[in-house]
Amino acid sequence: MTRVGDLSLSGLAALLADGRFAVQTGSLVSRIQTALPDVARSIHVLYAHHPCSAAPDFADFHVRLERPCNLRRWLRPQAEFVIDGERPFEPLPRDQAPAFLEWGLNWSIAASCHQWLTIHAASLERHGRAVILPAPPGSGKSTLCAALALRGWRLLTDEMSLIDLQTTAAYALARPINLKNASIDLIRSFAPAGVWGPETYDTAKGRVTHLRPPVDSVERMLKPAAPRWIVFPRYVAGSEPLLTPRGKAPTFIHFARNAFNYSQLGALGFAVAGRLVSQCDCYDFSYSRLDDALEVFDWLADGGKMNGDEI
């Protein structure tokens, strides 16, 4: 099996330019075409552990990152994301192209992968059981996800949890973790050996970059996990860690409102979301220090359970 890191950068760039490069993330294969050198460098770094192939017979997505064929090719240059010949987004500044690839792939999964219930949430696995971390932007979800992935939890996904419609098992993508602003510096300090993609500035989210997933997360990315906990994290500066049980009914309603394809799935989405909530212990969790958060999640993984009391 060839991995992206087995290719030289020039070899990868050539495959990308010819549109013959495909990378596997979880069970999904994305065929990527681009002549943009910074995108090639980003893929070479962030997907180094991922399996890849040249001109596969099948790919779930066919995407291109390219410069527009107008004045914006040169004047305040931009990049465009193209999927299956369509341009679902407005162009972005040229220097955001590597991040644009990641965001575009996120959208592609959310828009079309209806073989799962796709939830806007991170998910990680420990001892065969998964924790799902739903949270709105700015709640510290990705920061917490990165910390857990770097400290013994297997990353399934940092952005889109994939729930099997029959078994409610959580499936992995093991893609790079998107971090922004202060969380970048926090995780750099937390894990100095982390491998990072390029930083992009002045995006709609501020300063953003991506963290390469741990090699174990990629090597085991085809192995699903049984969801066991749903934890809504919230970063509160200066706070002590606080884990409180959360009602299943409001948790379900959150999924009904925030799952990308709940409406498309109709009754099936209702059934799956309900089973998922029923089988999990649901919590709210506020924290300020990552070490505190890790301790709480380790406690959960070791069998900790609350019945209406706070810790």
């Binding site: 299943k248 009914a249 409001p250 379900f252 009754a267």
Partner: protein, 87 residues
Amino acid sequence: MPDAGRFLIHRWADGCAVFDQASGDTHALDSASFAGFAADLNGQSAVVAIDAALRAEWPEKADAEIALLAQGCWQRLEACGLIQAGN
């Protein structure tokens, strides 16, 4: 009386969710509202069921307050199309 097969239901200790297969809508119901909805599905009086559920949940509340809460439950069920006016 609505067709019970039209609705899918998840129930938990702290509430329930109802999926209306006719409209594709999902509704969250508190205990009293669900009691009224379920009674109506079974051909029983929703008003009586809502009242009984509220009194069980709030034994200390006065009749007038219970009536007000019951009216709220009824209006929400009606607005969601989960109950027919006059039932």
